[in-house]
Amino acid sequence: MLRFALTRILMSVPTLLIVSVSVFGLIRLIPGDPASLMLGDLATPASIADLQARLGLDQSVPVQFGIWFGNLLKGDLGQSINSQQAVLPLILQRFWISAQIVLVAVLLASLVAVPAGVLAAWKQDTSLDLSLVAVATLLLSIPTFWLGLLLLLFFGLKLEWLPVVGYVSIAENPLAGILYLVMPIMTLFLHEIGVILRMARASTLEVLRLDYITHARAKGLTESAVLWNHAFKNAFGPTWTLIGLVLGNLLGGIAVVETVFTIPGLGRLLVDSIFARDYPVIQGCMLFVAFTYVLVNLVIDLCYPIFDPRVTAQ
Protein backbone atom coordinates (compact mmCIF):
# COMPACT_ATOMS: atom_id res chain seq x y z
CA MET A 1 0.00 0.00 0.00
CA LEU A 2 2.71 2.45 1.02
CA ARG A 3 4.85 1.35 -1.88
CA PHE A 4 1.92 1.85 -4.21
CA ALA A 5 1.42 5.37 -2.92
CA LEU A 6 5.11 6.19 -3.27
CA THR A 7 5.24 4.80 -6.80
CA ARG A 8 2.20 6.82 -7.73
CA ILE A 9 3.70 9.99 -6.32
CA LEU A 10 6.90 9.38 -8.26
CA MET A 11 4.85 8.62 -11.36
CA SER A 12 3.10 11.96 -11.08
CA VAL A 13 6.39 13.81 -11.43
CA PRO A 14 6.63 13.14 -15.19
CA THR A 15 2.94 14.04 -15.51
CA LEU A 16 3.57 17.42 -13.95
CA LEU A 17 6.69 17.89 -16.02
CA ILE A 18 4.73 17.17 -19.20
CA VAL A 19 2.10 19.66 -18.09
CA SER A 20 4.71 22.35 -17.41
CA VAL A 21 6.45 21.96 -20.73
CA SER A 22 3.29 21.75 -22.80
CA VAL A 23 1.58 24.66 -21.08
CA PHE A 24 4.68 26.74 -21.50
CA GLY A 25 4.88 25.91 -25.18
CA LEU A 26 1.17 26.01 -25.90
CA ILE A 27 0.50 29.48 -24.54
CA ARG A 28 3.38 30.83 -26.54
CA LEU A 29 1.97 29.24 -29.70
CA ILE A 30 -1.23 31.21 -29.26
CA PRO A 31 -1.07 34.47 -31.17
CA GLY A 32 -1.00 37.69 -29.19
CA ASP A 33 1.30 38.68 -26.37
CA PRO A 34 0.89 40.48 -23.06
CA ALA A 35 2.96 43.47 -24.13
CA SER A 36 0.84 44.42 -27.12
CA LEU A 37 -2.36 43.73 -25.19
CA MET A 38 -1.27 46.12 -22.46
CA LEU A 39 -0.45 48.80 -24.99
CA GLY A 40 -3.51 48.21 -27.17
CA ASP A 41 -3.88 50.30 -30.32
CA LEU A 42 -1.36 52.80 -28.93
CA ALA A 43 1.53 50.43 -29.41
CA THR A 44 4.49 51.24 -31.60
CA PRO A 45 6.90 48.43 -32.48
CA ALA A 46 9.48 50.14 -30.27
CA SER A 47 7.20 50.40 -27.25
CA ILE A 48 6.17 46.74 -27.61
CA ALA A 49 9.80 45.66 -27.83
CA ASP A 50 10.57 47.79 -24.78
CA LEU A 51 7.85 46.23 -22.70
CA GLN A 52 8.70 42.74 -23.87
CA ALA A 53 12.28 43.23 -22.80
CA ARG A 54 11.11 44.46 -19.41
CA LEU A 55 8.88 41.40 -19.02
CA GLY A 56 11.69 39.09 -20.09
CA LEU A 57 9.72 37.99 -23.14
CA ASP A 58 12.43 38.95 -25.61
CA GLN A 59 14.45 35.83 -24.87
CA SER A 60 13.98 32.52 -26.67
CA VAL A 61 11.28 30.20 -25.34
CA PRO A 62 13.73 27.54 -24.05
CA VAL A 63 15.67 30.21 -22.15
CA GLN A 64 12.45 31.58 -20.69
CA PHE A 65 11.46 28.07 -19.69
CA GLY A 66 14.83 27.48 -18.08
CA ILE A 67 14.50 30.62 -15.97
CA TRP A 68 10.93 29.83 -15.01
CA PHE A 69 11.70 26.22 -14.20
CA GLY A 70 14.73 27.17 -12.13
CA ASN A 71 12.58 29.50 -10.06
CA LEU A 72 9.89 26.84 -9.83
CA LEU A 73 12.34 24.44 -8.20
CA LYS A 74 12.99 27.15 -5.65
CA GLY A 75 9.23 27.34 -5.07
CA ASP A 76 8.83 30.65 -6.88
CA LEU A 77 6.09 30.73 -9.52
CA GLY A 78 6.93 34.26 -10.58
CA GLN A 79 4.88 37.43 -10.74
CA SER A 80 1.72 38.28 -12.62
CA ILE A 81 2.30 40.51 -15.62
CA ASN A 82 -1.01 42.28 -15.14
CA SER A 83 -1.31 42.78 -11.40
CA GLN A 84 2.35 42.29 -10.47
CA GLN A 85 1.30 40.06 -7.61
CA ALA A 86 3.26 36.96 -6.70
CA VAL A 87 1.60 34.03 -8.49
CA LEU A 88 1.53 31.39 -5.78
CA PRO A 89 -0.28 33.39 -3.06
CA LEU A 90 -2.64 34.65 -5.74
CA ILE A 91 -3.48 31.12 -6.81
CA LEU A 92 -3.89 29.82 -3.27
CA GLN A 93 -6.19 32.67 -2.38
CA ARG A 94 -8.36 32.09 -5.45
CA PHE A 95 -8.23 28.31 -5.13
CA TRP A 96 -9.64 28.39 -1.64
CA ILE A 97 -12.71 30.19 -2.97
CA SER A 98 -13.25 27.74 -5.84
CA ALA A 99 -12.57 24.73 -3.64
CA GLN A 100 -15.30 25.69 -1.20
CA ILE A 101 -17.83 25.75 -4.00
CA VAL A 102 -16.67 22.64 -5.83
CA LEU A 103 -16.19 20.45 -2.78
CA VAL A 104 -19.47 21.35 -1.15
CA ALA A 105 -21.38 20.96 -4.41
CA VAL A 106 -19.82 17.59 -5.27
CA LEU A 107 -20.18 16.30 -1.72
CA LEU A 108 -23.84 17.24 -1.56
CA ALA A 109 -24.45 15.92 -5.06
CA SER A 110 -22.80 12.58 -4.20
CA LEU A 111 -24.82 12.28 -1.01
CA VAL A 112 -28.02 12.67 -2.98
CA ALA A 113 -27.08 11.09 -6.28
CA VAL A 114 -25.26 7.90 -5.25
CA PRO A 115 -28.11 6.50 -3.14
CA ALA A 116 -30.61 7.70 -5.72
CA GLY A 117 -28.64 5.98 -8.48
CA VAL A 118 -28.49 2.72 -6.54
CA LEU A 119 -32.18 2.98 -5.81
CA ALA A 120 -32.97 3.55 -9.48
CA ALA A 121 -30.93 0.53 -10.48
CA TRP A 122 -32.54 -1.60 -7.85
CA LYS A 123 -35.99 -0.63 -9.06
CA GLN A 124 -34.92 -0.81 -12.70
CA ASP A 125 -37.62 -0.09 -15.29
CA THR A 126 -40.18 0.94 -12.72
CA SER A 127 -41.71 4.37 -12.89
CA LEU A 128 -39.42 5.43 -10.03
CA ASP A 129 -36.35 4.49 -12.06
CA LEU A 130 -37.68 6.23 -15.13
CA SER A 131 -38.46 9.43 -13.31
CA LEU A 132 -35.10 9.50 -11.52
CA VAL A 133 -33.29 9.00 -14.81
CA ALA A 134 -35.43 11.62 -16.48
CA VAL A 135 -34.69 14.14 -13.74
CA ALA A 136 -30.97 13.33 -13.88
CA THR A 137 -30.93 13.65 -17.65
CA LEU A 138 -32.71 16.97 -17.56
CA LEU A 139 -30.35 18.36 -14.92
CA LEU A 140 -27.39 17.12 -16.90
CA SER A 141 -28.58 18.82 -20.03
CA ILE A 142 -29.09 22.34 -18.70
CA PRO A 143 -25.95 24.41 -19.27
CA THR A 144 -24.60 25.65 -15.95
CA PHE A 145 -24.53 29.26 -16.99
CA TRP A 146 -28.11 29.10 -18.07
CA LEU A 147 -29.14 27.35 -14.88
CA GLY A 148 -27.14 29.86 -12.87
CA LEU A 149 -28.81 32.75 -14.57
CA LEU A 150 -32.27 31.30 -14.03
CA LEU A 151 -31.48 30.89 -10.33
CA LEU A 152 -30.15 34.42 -10.25
CA LEU A 153 -33.30 35.81 -11.80
CA PHE A 154 -35.56 33.77 -9.58
CA PHE A 155 -33.91 33.87 -6.15
CA GLY A 156 -32.02 37.10 -6.60
CA LEU A 157 -34.42 39.32 -8.48
CA LYS A 158 -37.88 37.87 -8.17
CA LEU A 159 -37.81 36.66 -4.57
CA GLU A 160 -34.94 38.88 -3.38
CA TRP A 161 -33.71 36.10 -1.11
CA LEU A 162 -30.10 36.04 -2.15
CA PRO A 163 -27.56 38.69 -3.08
CA VAL A 164 -27.14 39.23 -6.80
CA VAL A 165 -23.61 40.55 -7.21
CA GLY A 166 -20.35 40.43 -5.40
CA TYR A 167 -18.56 38.15 -3.05
CA VAL A 168 -17.75 38.25 0.64
CA SER A 169 -15.16 35.96 2.13
CA ILE A 170 -16.52 33.57 4.73
CA ALA A 171 -13.60 34.42 6.97
CA GLU A 172 -14.63 38.08 6.98
CA ASN A 173 -18.33 37.66 7.43
CA PRO A 174 -19.54 34.07 7.78
CA LEU A 175 -23.26 34.66 7.32
CA ALA A 176 -22.99 36.92 4.28
CA GLY A 177 -20.22 34.74 2.89
CA ILE A 178 -22.43 31.67 2.93
CA LEU A 179 -25.31 33.54 1.31
CA TYR A 180 -23.07 34.55 -1.58
CA LEU A 181 -22.05 30.94 -2.11
CA VAL A 182 -25.53 29.45 -2.07
CA MET A 183 -26.39 30.01 -5.72
CA PRO A 184 -23.07 28.93 -7.25
CA ILE A 185 -23.10 25.80 -5.13
CA MET A 186 -26.71 25.12 -6.00
CA THR A 187 -25.96 25.48 -9.71
CA LEU A 188 -23.09 23.02 -9.65
CA PHE A 189 -24.93 20.73 -7.25
CA LEU A 190 -27.94 20.40 -9.52
CA HIS A 191 -25.75 19.80 -12.54
CA GLU A 192 -23.53 17.21 -10.89
CA ILE A 193 -26.49 15.26 -9.49
CA GLY A 194 -27.30 14.36 -13.07
CA VAL A 195 -23.78 13.19 -13.82
CA ILE A 196 -23.24 11.17 -10.66
CA LEU A 197 -26.70 9.64 -10.47
CA ARG A 198 -26.43 8.18 -13.94
CA MET A 199 -23.01 6.70 -13.28
CA ALA A 200 -24.04 5.23 -9.93
CA ARG A 201 -27.09 3.68 -11.54
CA ALA A 202 -25.11 2.21 -14.40
CA SER A 203 -22.46 0.70 -12.15
CA THR A 204 -25.06 -0.77 -9.81
CA LEU A 205 -26.96 -2.29 -12.72
CA GLU A 206 -23.77 -3.91 -13.88
CA VAL A 207 -23.07 -5.38 -10.48
CA LEU A 208 -26.65 -6.52 -9.95
CA ARG A 209 -26.35 -8.79 -12.97
CA LEU A 210 -23.16 -10.46 -11.79
CA ASP A 211 -23.14 -14.06 -10.74
CA TYR A 212 -22.32 -13.49 -7.13
CA ILE A 213 -25.32 -11.27 -6.72
CA THR A 214 -27.48 -14.02 -8.15
CA HIS A 215 -25.62 -16.30 -5.81
CA ALA A 216 -26.26 -14.06 -2.84
CA ARG A 217 -29.90 -13.92 -3.76
CA ALA A 218 -29.98 -17.68 -4.14
CA LYS A 219 -28.50 -17.99 -0.65
CA GLY A 220 -31.74 -16.43 0.49
CA LEU A 221 -30.39 -13.04 1.61
CA THR A 222 -33.02 -10.32 1.70
CA GLU A 223 -33.06 -7.91 -1.22
CA SER A 224 -31.89 -5.02 0.94
CA ALA A 225 -29.00 -7.05 2.33
CA VAL A 226 -27.94 -8.01 -1.18
CA LEU A 227 -28.20 -4.42 -2.26
CA TRP A 228 -26.19 -2.91 0.53
CA ASN A 229 -23.66 -5.65 1.24
CA HIS A 230 -22.84 -6.62 -2.29
CA ALA A 231 -24.18 -4.31 -4.92
CA PHE A 232 -23.62 -0.94 -3.32
CA LYS A 233 -20.04 -1.57 -2.27
CA ASN A 234 -19.05 -2.90 -5.65
CA ALA A 235 -20.83 -0.23 -7.60
CA PHE A 236 -19.12 2.44 -5.61
CA GLY A 237 -15.74 1.78 -7.23
CA PRO A 238 -16.50 3.10 -10.71
CA THR A 239 -18.64 5.87 -9.27
CA TRP A 240 -15.75 6.85 -7.05
CA THR A 241 -13.51 7.11 -10.11
CA LEU A 242 -16.08 9.28 -11.79
CA ILE A 243 -16.33 11.58 -8.80
CA GLY A 244 -12.59 12.01 -9.15
CA LEU A 245 -12.97 12.92 -12.80
CA VAL A 246 -15.79 15.29 -11.95
CA LEU A 247 -13.70 17.06 -9.32
CA GLY A 248 -10.82 17.49 -11.73
CA ASN A 249 -12.99 18.72 -14.57
CA LEU A 250 -14.85 21.09 -12.33
CA LEU A 251 -11.70 22.94 -11.42
CA GLY A 252 -11.33 23.80 -15.08
CA GLY A 253 -15.02 24.21 -15.79
CA ILE A 254 -15.96 26.30 -12.78
CA ALA A 255 -14.90 29.43 -14.64
CA VAL A 256 -18.34 29.62 -16.19
CA VAL A 257 -20.15 29.54 -12.87
CA GLU A 258 -17.69 31.98 -11.35
CA THR A 259 -18.31 34.34 -14.24
CA VAL A 260 -22.06 34.25 -13.82
CA PHE A 261 -21.90 34.92 -10.09
CA THR A 262 -18.81 37.15 -10.16
CA ILE A 263 -16.91 34.89 -7.79
CA PRO A 264 -13.17 35.65 -7.84
CA GLY A 265 -12.14 32.00 -8.02
CA LEU A 266 -9.37 30.07 -9.68
CA GLY A 267 -11.39 29.36 -12.82
CA ARG A 268 -11.97 33.00 -13.53
CA LEU A 269 -8.37 33.82 -12.75
CA LEU A 270 -7.28 31.27 -15.34
CA VAL A 271 -9.70 32.41 -18.05
CA ASP A 272 -8.90 36.08 -17.45
CA SER A 273 -5.21 35.30 -17.61
CA ILE A 274 -5.64 33.42 -20.87
CA PHE A 275 -7.42 36.36 -22.44
CA ALA A 276 -4.80 38.75 -21.04
CA ARG A 277 -1.97 36.38 -22.02
CA ASP A 278 -0.63 36.69 -18.46
CA TYR A 279 1.87 33.87 -18.98
CA PRO A 280 3.16 33.41 -15.41
CA VAL A 281 -0.37 33.18 -14.00
CA ILE A 282 -1.52 30.77 -16.72
CA GLN A 283 1.51 28.56 -16.13
CA GLY A 284 1.03 28.68 -12.38
CA CYS A 285 -2.69 27.97 -12.54
CA MET A 286 -2.29 25.09 -14.95
CA LEU A 287 0.46 23.50 -12.94
CA PHE A 288 -1.56 23.95 -9.78
CA VAL A 289 -4.72 22.49 -11.30
CA ALA A 290 -2.71 19.59 -12.70
CA PHE A 291 -1.09 19.01 -9.31
CA THR A 292 -4.43 19.05 -7.52
CA TYR A 293 -5.85 16.72 -10.11
CA VAL A 294 -3.01 14.24 -9.76
CA LEU A 295 -3.45 14.37 -6.01
CA VAL A 296 -7.19 13.73 -6.23
CA ASN A 297 -6.59 10.80 -8.55
CA LEU A 298 -3.97 9.37 -6.25
CA VAL A 299 -6.38 9.43 -3.35
CA ILE A 300 -9.06 7.87 -5.54
CA ASP A 301 -6.74 5.11 -6.71
CA LEU A 302 -5.53 4.44 -3.18
CA CYS A 303 -9.13 4.02 -2.10
CA TYR A 304 -10.06 1.88 -5.08
CA PRO A 305 -8.88 -1.46 -3.60
CA ILE A 306 -10.99 -0.77 -0.54
CA PHE A 307 -14.10 -0.73 -2.67
CA ASP A 308 -13.12 -3.27 -5.27
CA PRO A 309 -11.16 -6.15 -3.75
CA ARG A 310 -10.55 -7.61 -7.19
CA VAL A 311 -7.98 -4.94 -7.94
CA THR A 312 -4.85 -5.47 -5.96
CA ALA A 313 -2.78 -2.45 -5.27
CA GLN A 314 0.65 -2.84 -6.71
Binding site: M11, P14, T15, L138, L149, P238, G253
Partner: protein, 272 residues
Protein backbone atom coordinates in the same frame (compact mmCIF):
# COMPACT_ATOMS: atom_id res chain seq x y z
CA UNK B 1 -41.55 -10.58 -30.76
CA UNK B 2 -41.14 -8.26 -27.80
CA UNK B 3 -42.03 -4.58 -27.87
CA UNK B 4 -39.05 -2.22 -27.57
CA UNK B 5 -38.47 -0.76 -24.10
CA UNK B 6 -40.20 2.56 -23.35
CA UNK B 7 -36.88 4.40 -23.11
CA UNK B 8 -35.95 3.17 -26.58
CA UNK B 9 -39.32 4.34 -27.90
CA UNK B 10 -39.16 7.83 -26.41
CA UNK B 11 -35.47 8.23 -27.13
CA UNK B 12 -35.89 6.95 -30.66
CA UNK B 13 -38.78 9.29 -31.28
CA UNK B 14 -36.82 12.32 -30.05
CA UNK B 15 -33.71 11.46 -32.00
CA UNK B 16 -35.75 10.53 -35.05
CA UNK B 17 -37.48 13.89 -34.94
CA UNK B 18 -34.12 15.61 -34.56
CA UNK B 19 -32.74 13.70 -37.54
CA UNK B 20 -35.74 14.68 -39.65
CA UNK B 21 -35.46 18.35 -38.67
CA UNK B 22 -31.72 18.37 -39.34
CA UNK B 23 -32.22 16.81 -42.77
CA UNK B 24 -35.12 19.06 -43.68
CA UNK B 25 -33.06 22.12 -42.77
CA UNK B 26 -30.63 21.19 -45.53
CA UNK B 27 -33.31 21.85 -48.15
CA UNK B 28 -35.87 24.06 -46.44
CA UNK B 29 -36.18 26.46 -43.53
CA UNK B 30 -39.03 28.96 -43.05
CA UNK B 31 -36.58 31.84 -43.59
CA UNK B 32 -32.91 32.09 -44.47
CA UNK B 33 -31.20 31.49 -41.10
CA UNK B 34 -28.57 34.15 -41.89
CA UNK B 35 -30.99 36.73 -43.28
CA UNK B 36 -31.06 39.89 -41.18
CA UNK B 37 -34.21 41.93 -40.78
CA UNK B 38 -33.67 45.36 -39.30
CA UNK B 39 -37.34 45.92 -38.78
CA UNK B 40 -37.98 42.77 -36.80
CA UNK B 41 -35.34 42.77 -34.10
CA UNK B 42 -36.12 40.74 -30.99
CA UNK B 43 -39.70 40.16 -32.13
CA UNK B 44 -41.72 37.92 -29.84
CA UNK B 45 -43.06 34.61 -31.18
CA UNK B 46 -45.92 35.24 -33.58
CA UNK B 47 -47.65 33.77 -36.61
CA UNK B 48 -44.89 35.26 -38.80
CA UNK B 49 -42.01 34.00 -36.69
CA UNK B 50 -43.18 31.03 -34.66
CA UNK B 51 -40.27 31.18 -32.26
CA UNK B 52 -39.57 34.90 -32.55
CA UNK B 53 -36.48 36.64 -33.92
CA UNK B 54 -33.04 37.42 -32.48
CA UNK B 55 -31.14 40.66 -31.99
CA UNK B 56 -30.42 40.88 -35.71
CA UNK B 57 -34.00 40.08 -36.68
CA UNK B 58 -33.09 36.57 -37.82
CA UNK B 59 -35.78 33.91 -37.55
CA UNK B 60 -35.12 31.75 -34.47
CA UNK B 61 -36.92 28.67 -35.81
CA UNK B 62 -34.87 28.69 -39.02
CA UNK B 63 -31.68 29.12 -37.04
CA UNK B 64 -32.61 26.30 -34.69
CA UNK B 65 -33.20 24.00 -37.65
CA UNK B 66 -29.91 24.90 -39.29
CA UNK B 67 -28.19 24.73 -35.92
CA UNK B 68 -29.53 21.22 -35.31
CA UNK B 69 -27.48 19.88 -38.16
CA UNK B 70 -24.30 21.73 -37.14
CA UNK B 71 -24.53 21.00 -33.42
CA UNK B 72 -25.34 17.33 -33.86
CA UNK B 73 -22.63 16.88 -36.43
CA UNK B 74 -20.00 18.53 -34.25
CA UNK B 75 -20.99 16.52 -31.20
CA UNK B 76 -21.08 13.21 -33.06
CA UNK B 77 -17.69 13.69 -34.65
CA UNK B 78 -16.15 14.85 -31.38
CA UNK B 79 -17.51 11.87 -29.45
CA UNK B 80 -16.41 9.49 -32.19
CA UNK B 81 -12.92 10.98 -32.12
CA UNK B 82 -12.66 10.89 -28.34
CA UNK B 83 -14.02 7.37 -27.99
CA UNK B 84 -11.88 5.80 -30.67
CA UNK B 85 -8.77 7.58 -29.50
CA UNK B 86 -9.43 6.83 -25.85
CA UNK B 87 -10.41 3.20 -26.38
CA UNK B 88 -7.26 2.39 -28.30
CA UNK B 89 -5.10 4.04 -25.65
CA UNK B 90 -7.00 2.54 -22.72
CA UNK B 91 -7.12 -1.01 -24.10
CA UNK B 92 -3.46 -1.00 -24.96
CA UNK B 93 -2.35 0.61 -21.73
CA UNK B 94 -4.50 -1.55 -19.47
CA UNK B 95 -3.54 -4.73 -21.18
CA UNK B 96 0.23 -4.35 -21.46
CA UNK B 97 0.67 -2.82 -17.97
CA UNK B 98 4.21 -2.29 -16.74
CA UNK B 99 6.25 0.76 -17.64
CA UNK B 100 4.50 1.28 -20.97
CA UNK B 101 1.23 1.61 -19.10
CA UNK B 102 2.79 3.96 -16.60
CA UNK B 103 4.23 6.16 -19.34
CA UNK B 104 0.98 6.29 -21.27
CA UNK B 105 -0.98 7.05 -18.13
CA UNK B 106 1.42 9.83 -17.20
CA UNK B 107 0.68 11.45 -20.57
CA UNK B 108 -2.98 10.66 -20.17
CA UNK B 109 -3.14 12.24 -16.75
CA UNK B 110 -1.21 15.23 -17.98
CA UNK B 111 -3.77 15.74 -20.72
CA UNK B 112 -6.61 15.11 -18.31
CA UNK B 113 -5.21 17.69 -15.98
CA UNK B 114 -5.59 20.37 -18.65
CA UNK B 115 -8.87 22.16 -18.20
CA UNK B 116 -10.67 21.71 -21.51
CA UNK B 117 -10.91 25.48 -21.88
CA UNK B 118 -7.19 26.02 -22.18
CA UNK B 119 -6.71 23.05 -24.45
CA UNK B 120 -9.54 24.29 -26.65
CA UNK B 121 -8.23 27.85 -26.72
CA UNK B 122 -4.71 26.69 -27.51
CA UNK B 123 -5.73 24.27 -30.21
CA UNK B 124 -8.30 26.64 -31.69
CA UNK B 125 -5.69 29.33 -31.98
CA UNK B 126 -3.26 26.96 -33.67
CA UNK B 127 -5.75 25.07 -35.87
CA UNK B 128 -7.97 28.06 -36.63
CA UNK B 129 -11.30 28.95 -35.09
CA UNK B 130 -13.77 26.77 -36.96
CA UNK B 131 -15.84 23.70 -36.25
CA UNK B 132 -12.99 21.32 -37.06
CA UNK B 133 -10.89 23.13 -34.50
CA UNK B 134 -13.61 22.59 -31.92
CA UNK B 135 -13.93 18.92 -32.84
CA UNK B 136 -10.22 18.35 -32.60
CA UNK B 137 -9.83 20.33 -29.38
CA UNK B 138 -12.74 18.75 -27.55
CA UNK B 139 -12.01 15.31 -28.99
CA UNK B 140 -8.49 15.42 -27.61
CA UNK B 141 -9.72 16.91 -24.35
CA UNK B 142 -12.23 14.10 -23.75
CA UNK B 143 -10.19 11.14 -25.00
CA UNK B 144 -8.27 10.74 -21.71
CA UNK B 145 -11.49 10.22 -19.73
CA UNK B 146 -12.36 7.38 -22.10
CA UNK B 147 -8.86 5.94 -21.81
CA UNK B 148 -9.04 5.97 -18.03
CA UNK B 149 -12.39 4.23 -17.88
CA UNK B 150 -11.44 1.63 -20.49
CA UNK B 151 -8.17 0.96 -18.70
CA UNK B 152 -10.03 0.62 -15.39
CA UNK B 153 -12.39 -1.93 -16.93
CA UNK B 154 -9.49 -3.83 -18.46
CA UNK B 155 -7.68 -3.89 -15.14
CA UNK B 156 -10.62 -5.31 -13.27
CA UNK B 157 -11.47 -7.79 -16.05
CA UNK B 158 -7.97 -9.21 -16.36
CA UNK B 159 -8.42 -10.97 -13.07
CA UNK B 160 -11.67 -12.65 -14.09
CA UNK B 161 -11.88 -16.37 -14.85
CA UNK B 162 -13.11 -16.10 -18.42
CA UNK B 163 -10.10 -14.06 -19.46
CA UNK B 164 -7.65 -16.51 -17.95
CA UNK B 165 -9.69 -19.28 -19.54
CA UNK B 166 -9.32 -17.68 -22.93
CA UNK B 167 -5.60 -17.46 -22.43
CA UNK B 168 -5.35 -21.02 -21.15
CA UNK B 169 -7.24 -22.15 -24.23
CA UNK B 170 -4.33 -20.80 -26.25
CA UNK B 171 -6.00 -17.75 -27.72
CA UNK B 172 -3.64 -14.95 -28.65
CA UNK B 173 -3.50 -11.81 -26.54
CA UNK B 174 -4.94 -9.70 -29.35
CA UNK B 175 -7.80 -12.11 -29.85
CA UNK B 176 -8.56 -12.16 -26.13
CA UNK B 177 -8.51 -8.43 -26.04
CA UNK B 178 -10.88 -7.99 -28.99
CA UNK B 179 -13.13 -10.95 -28.32
CA UNK B 180 -13.48 -10.77 -24.57
CA UNK B 181 -12.30 -7.49 -23.17
CA UNK B 182 -13.53 -4.98 -25.75
CA UNK B 183 -17.16 -6.18 -25.60
CA UNK B 184 -17.02 -5.76 -21.85
CA UNK B 185 -16.02 -2.16 -22.26
CA UNK B 186 -19.07 -1.38 -24.35
CA UNK B 187 -21.46 -0.91 -21.46
CA UNK B 188 -19.43 1.66 -19.56
CA UNK B 189 -18.40 3.26 -22.87
CA UNK B 190 -21.98 3.61 -24.04
CA UNK B 191 -22.85 5.40 -20.84
CA UNK B 192 -19.76 7.55 -21.10
CA UNK B 193 -20.26 8.29 -24.79
CA UNK B 194 -23.85 9.36 -24.31
CA UNK B 195 -22.89 11.61 -21.39
CA UNK B 196 -20.04 12.86 -23.48
CA UNK B 197 -22.40 13.79 -26.28
CA UNK B 198 -24.03 16.01 -23.72
CA UNK B 199 -20.72 17.34 -22.46
CA UNK B 200 -19.70 18.29 -25.96
CA UNK B 201 -22.95 20.12 -26.66
CA UNK B 202 -22.52 21.91 -23.34
CA UNK B 203 -18.79 22.49 -23.77
CA UNK B 204 -19.45 24.10 -27.12
CA UNK B 205 -21.94 26.51 -25.58
CA UNK B 206 -19.68 27.15 -22.59
CA UNK B 207 -16.85 28.00 -24.95
CA UNK B 208 -19.19 30.38 -26.75
CA UNK B 209 -20.16 31.82 -23.39
CA UNK B 210 -16.54 32.48 -22.52
CA UNK B 211 -16.04 33.92 -25.98
CA UNK B 212 -14.31 31.03 -27.76
CA UNK B 213 -17.04 29.07 -29.51
CA UNK B 214 -17.84 28.03 -33.04
CA UNK B 215 -17.57 31.27 -34.96
CA UNK B 216 -20.94 32.84 -35.56
CA UNK B 217 -22.87 33.89 -37.61
CA UNK B 218 -23.31 30.20 -38.53
CA UNK B 219 -25.86 29.06 -35.95
CA UNK B 220 -25.25 26.27 -33.49
CA UNK B 221 -27.50 25.73 -30.50
CA UNK B 222 -24.56 26.49 -28.29
CA UNK B 223 -23.74 29.88 -29.70
CA UNK B 224 -27.44 30.76 -29.95
CA UNK B 225 -27.87 30.00 -26.27
CA UNK B 226 -24.72 31.88 -25.33
CA UNK B 227 -25.72 34.82 -27.50
CA UNK B 228 -29.10 35.01 -25.81
CA UNK B 229 -27.73 35.89 -22.40
CA UNK B 230 -27.67 39.66 -22.71
CA UNK B 231 -31.30 39.60 -23.78
CA UNK B 232 -32.64 37.34 -21.07
CA UNK B 233 -34.83 40.09 -19.66
CA UNK B 234 -36.35 41.28 -22.93
CA UNK B 235 -36.41 38.15 -25.06
CA UNK B 236 -36.59 34.94 -23.06
CA UNK B 237 -37.43 32.95 -26.18
CA UNK B 238 -33.93 33.47 -27.50
CA UNK B 239 -32.45 31.24 -24.82
CA UNK B 240 -35.42 29.07 -23.93
CA UNK B 241 -35.72 27.38 -27.30
CA UNK B 242 -32.08 26.45 -27.93
CA UNK B 243 -31.87 25.36 -24.28
CA UNK B 244 -34.94 23.22 -24.76
CA UNK B 245 -33.50 21.74 -27.95
CA UNK B 246 -30.28 20.81 -26.20
CA UNK B 247 -32.13 19.32 -23.26
CA UNK B 248 -34.54 17.30 -25.41
CA UNK B 249 -31.73 16.03 -27.62
CA UNK B 250 -29.75 14.94 -24.61
CA UNK B 251 -32.78 13.29 -23.12
CA UNK B 252 -33.32 11.39 -26.34
CA UNK B 253 -29.68 10.39 -26.69
CA UNK B 254 -29.43 9.25 -23.10
CA UNK B 255 -32.61 7.21 -23.20
CA UNK B 256 -31.50 5.62 -26.43
CA UNK B 257 -28.07 4.99 -24.95
CA UNK B 258 -29.57 3.23 -21.97
CA UNK B 259 -31.73 1.07 -24.18
CA UNK B 260 -28.75 0.33 -26.37
CA UNK B 261 -26.67 -0.72 -23.39
CA UNK B 262 -29.35 -3.14 -22.22
CA UNK B 263 -29.19 -4.73 -25.64
CA UNK B 264 -25.44 -4.77 -26.08
CA UNK B 265 -24.41 -5.93 -22.64
CA UNK B 266 -22.36 -9.08 -23.23
CA UNK B 267 -23.51 -10.77 -20.05
CA UNK B 268 -27.10 -10.31 -21.12
CA UNK B 269 -26.21 -11.85 -24.45
CA UNK B 270 -24.75 -14.90 -22.72
CA UNK B 271 -27.88 -15.36 -20.69
CA UNK B 272 -30.17 -15.55 -23.68
Amino acid sequence: MKLPAPNALVGGALIGFLAIVASVSAVWTPYDPLRLSFRAKLAAPSAMHWLGTDEFGRDVLSRLMAGAATSVWISLLTVALAVSLGTVIGLFSGYVRGWVDRTIMAFNDALLAFPGILLALGLLAVVGANKYGIILALGIAYAPSVARIVRGTVLSLREREFISASRVMGNSEAFTMLRHILPNCIAPLTVLATSMFGWVLLAESSLSFLGLGVPPPAPTWGNMLAGSRPYIGQAVWLGVFPGLCISLTLLGINLLGDALRDKLDPRMRGAR
